[in-house]
Amino acid sequence: MSSLGSDAPGPVTLEAGDIARDADALERTWRDQPGFWGWLCTVDHKSIGRRYVVTAFAMFLAGGIEAALMRTQLARPENAFLGADRYNQIFTTHGTTMMFLFAVPMMTAMGLYFVPLMVGARSVAFPRLNAFGYWTYCVGIGLLYVALLTNHAPDTGWFAYVPLSETLYAPGHRVDVWAQLVTFTEIAALCAAVNIIVTVFKMRAPGMSVDRIPLFVWAQLVVAFMIVFAMPAVAAGSTLMLAADRAIHMQWFIPARGGDALLWQHIFWFFGHPEVYIIFLPALGMVTPIVETFCRRPVVGYGAIVMANIATAFFAFGLWVHHMFATPLPELGESLFTAASLVIAIPTAVQIFCWIATMWTGRPRLTVPMLFVLGFLFTFINGGITGVMLASVPFDRQAHDTFFVVAHLHYVLIGGAVMPLFAGLYFWFPKFTGRLLGDGLGKWHFWLFLIGTNVTFFPMHILGLDGMPRRIYTYLASTGWGPLNLLASIGAATLAVSVVLFLINVVRSWVAGANAGADPWGAPGLEWAVASPPPPYNFVHAPVVSSAHPLWETSGALPVVTGLRTDRREILITTTFDARPDARHSSPHGSFWPFYLALCMGVVFIGSIFRPYWVLIGTALSCIGLFGWGWESSRPIERERVAMPNGPVVERT
């Protein structure tokens, strides 16, 4: 341990008075400025993470309302509730919201809130970039929902296939709204990804070598790399190609002028398939600590789960063509993608079997988070099995673009992402708020959600095999699809009730829930070592860890290292693999410029929909913001190599 500092004097014990004094000083240094200005300018990863989670959940509700409208329209044949035009806008907005505005931001938001806490850091690596990403995301939401409420929402599907989305077939600005919305969410996701990568690589607690990184953090790290590789594809496709086709006639995708209508599908799905795993892997990352905590044992196969995450990320980039099996591509090429689509089931199976083995060898307690984990297993495995079926080219030619695929993708995304997310929200709600979510309402929520999901989506398998295509706003009574559609709509109503129960639970518990304390579950992760909700500086002193389950390895207080200044915002930089203390680095204070720059981005991209010159105006305005941002950064750099004056010490609490 003494190797952590240059000439460390050996372990000493900190007195409670010293700790309290440091905590006071840190509180003054790290807290936000008071009032609205402080709220607007905050760069605290917890404030932004919490805002991100709440906003993304609001988007889940918005997407859910859209789903309810669709299910109402489809409840009976030839229903006149919505009409074709509204329906097309709503199904496009539903898909776009759930994929771009709920699922990905929600998963990165959980990462931005918890990764620093889980790795024992004071903040994220780039706090202002974090704020910028959040505000950019908000501008995107504003764009899509103003468009929806003014009847200008995109109406060509969340995949915006060309040539349907070209000006010839989609005049007006609806598709432009979609193309630019994608740009905003891609930028936000990239900001989050870069932040998570650097935070995990350079800011882990001393001693947290790569084999001790919590599995949720591993999942976030792997997904951050996936974002870095996947998102530029769709950002280029939607902004440089589709929007440019529409605005300045670049003719990338117009066959009559030498463009290629299939090229878009390659670009979109090269992003679109990894996107599914970008949503799904962090959710699996949430499952692991929950299973560990409620089975009272470390997970079986830590190394296997890490490798499974990496393998999934790798294969996820090699199966986009399975979204295009009905297009005229060569059979041999398609069969390669069949094989890849089947292979990717293996790493996921590894994770599932590891959790079941953990439960088997542990002492499971059926708390609400654990129930949601079981719900996830039942629902997700169903979706995984239909996924294997869809990897078969001959079967996919039948099922592709039918309600069978709608059923499959909802089993995967609700089962594989939303259920683990709910498990995670029940598990970590005490950390966000200091209070426990109610158990009784939680169980009602779980059972109604599980039943609702299956009643809604199971019949859709049969509808698809009975010939019902996707994205149709109505159907004739003579098709015979009426009864099962009505059943699915009843299931959707059940889902709506269960989500309302969850909201009631959240509000009630937030106001008057049972106090949670720092660690209500006896969980192993570092995030449970700090108060709930955590103070602005997270940890008074950087914890030192010697296992992947630090709170289970130490009885009493964690060992810590001291030496970071308390009167200035300072973070501890550690080495990438071994997490040895390497340097101290300054961390920025609250700043107005992230918000300002996000607005300038809005001017550039939203303005470009209407008149090209807005790009110039927005860019000029951005220059002011970049200057201000740079001016703040140009204060003397307080980076110092090594030098932890007081080596490892034990904190007495």
């Binding site: 009409g83 074709a84 035009d85 599907g157 296939y161 040539p163 349907l164 077939y169 209508a261 089975c295 009272r296 044992r297 470390p298 079986v300 009905a326 297009t327 005229p328 059979e331 069949t338 094989a339 089947l342 292979v343 089931a345 293996i346 199976a349 590894v350 079997f353 079941i356 088997w360 060898t361 542990g362 002492r363 499971p364 059926l366 654990m370 079981l374 297993l377 169903n382 099995i385 239909t386 294997v388 079926m389 990897a391 078969s392 080219v393 001959p394 079967f395 996919d396 030619r397 039948q398 592709h400 095999l465 009975d466 010939g467 996707r470 149709i472 003579s478 098709t479 006896g522 389950h549």
Partner: protein, 315 residues
């Protein structure tokens, strides 16, 4: 009527068989994993101790072995799916040289169907209804005139996309006579939901009779009402889009009406083909099929009656 569960061709039957095998395997796997998970979750529910369990090397090794065995079992099932799927896919890719070629072009939002012939006077063009002889391999040549559509008749074979700039194909051999419904499966805009078609599989003789009749031009109207309807048709701009062989109407932007009265449905499977429905359709197509590109013709009652009478003669 349209379902993969009632295959009417060897192609669809092979896929349905593949489906049932995969369904059975999937069901067994789901039941197995769910049972083990429930058992694992409930087995020690009475044990309230909150101490953290420390593994002995034996437990770790045993758990590891069980996980590896389960993963291997998964891999074996996946390999079986892979091989079976390739076998079916390979069989579906083998085609007879002796075949009937039919060209199908997707339009927003209807299907143009053309039968080629060595005799240029015997070319047949129709819409939204594909007649095929039973037992003869059919090769559909697919193309799109505007956006991407997808041709799907589940009882006969899987779907194939119609992509502008690309040529695609679909093969099937209808072995059971019948009328099989299909529908566009790729989202193609406002009326995507209302772009259906029918494949009519008939015994060879019946098919030949249909083809012979359909290759004839339209008969001139014989009664006065229909003759007046002909005039209404010609004067209201209908020929700009529609063609009626044997008359001056030669438009190519909309369905060929030479034998419109012989078809089962109107507006790509949206309406039964009755005189009332025909009149409703002409009066305001976009009410029945939002987005329909045919304008409304608010004709007088007398003109409408005459026009419908004329169109009804086009058997």
């Amino acid at each position: 009527m349209h379902s993969i569960f009632a295959p009417a061709s060897p192609e669809a039957a092979a896929v349905t068989r593949l489906w049932w095998w995969m369904f059975g395997a999937g069901l067994i796997i789901w039941l197995g994993v769910a049972t083990v998970a429930v058992r694992a979750a409930l087995a020690k529910s009475g044990d309230a101790s909150r101490d953290v369990i420390r593994d002995t090397p034996t437990v770790t090794r045993r758990a590891g072995r069980i996980v590896i065995a389960a993963v291997l079992a998964t891999a074996i099932v996946l390999a079986a799916v892979l091989v079976y799927s390739f076998a079916v896919g390979h069989a579906l890719a083998q085609h007879d040289a002796d075949r009937l070629v039919i060209e199908v072009t997707g339009h927003r939002w209807w299907w143009e169907v053309r039968y080629s012939s060595a005799d240029p006077t015997k070319l047949v063009t129709t819409a939204n209804e594909i007649h095929v002889p039973v037992g003869v391999p059919i090769h559909l040549r697919l193309a799109s005139d505007d956006v991407i559509h997808s041709f799907w008749a589940p009882n006969l074979n899987g779907k194939s996309d119609l992509i502008p700039g690309y040529r695609s194909a679909l093969w099937f051999r209808a072995d059971t006579p019948g009328v099989y419904r299909g529908q566009c499966a790729e989202f193609c805009g406002l009326a995507h939901a209302k772009m259906a078609f029918f494949v009519v599989a008939q015994p060879k003789a019946e098919y030949n009779a249909w083809l012979a009749k359909t290759s004839q031009p339209a008969e001139p109207p014989t009664d006065a009402e229909a003759a007046r309807g002909d005039t209404v048709f010609m004067r209201n701009g209908c020929p700009l889009c529609h063609r009626i062989a044997g008359t001056d109407a030669g438009g190519a932007a909309a369905p060929d009406l030479t034998h419109v009265a012989a078809r089962r449905t109107l507006a790509a499977g949206v309406l039964d083909n009755t005189p009332e429905n025909l009149a409703r359709w002409i009066f305001d197509p976009s009410v029945i099929k939002p987005g329909a590109r045919m304008p409304a013709f608010h004709l007088s009652a007398a003109d409408m009656r005459a026009l419908v009478a004329y169109l009804e003669t086009l058997k």
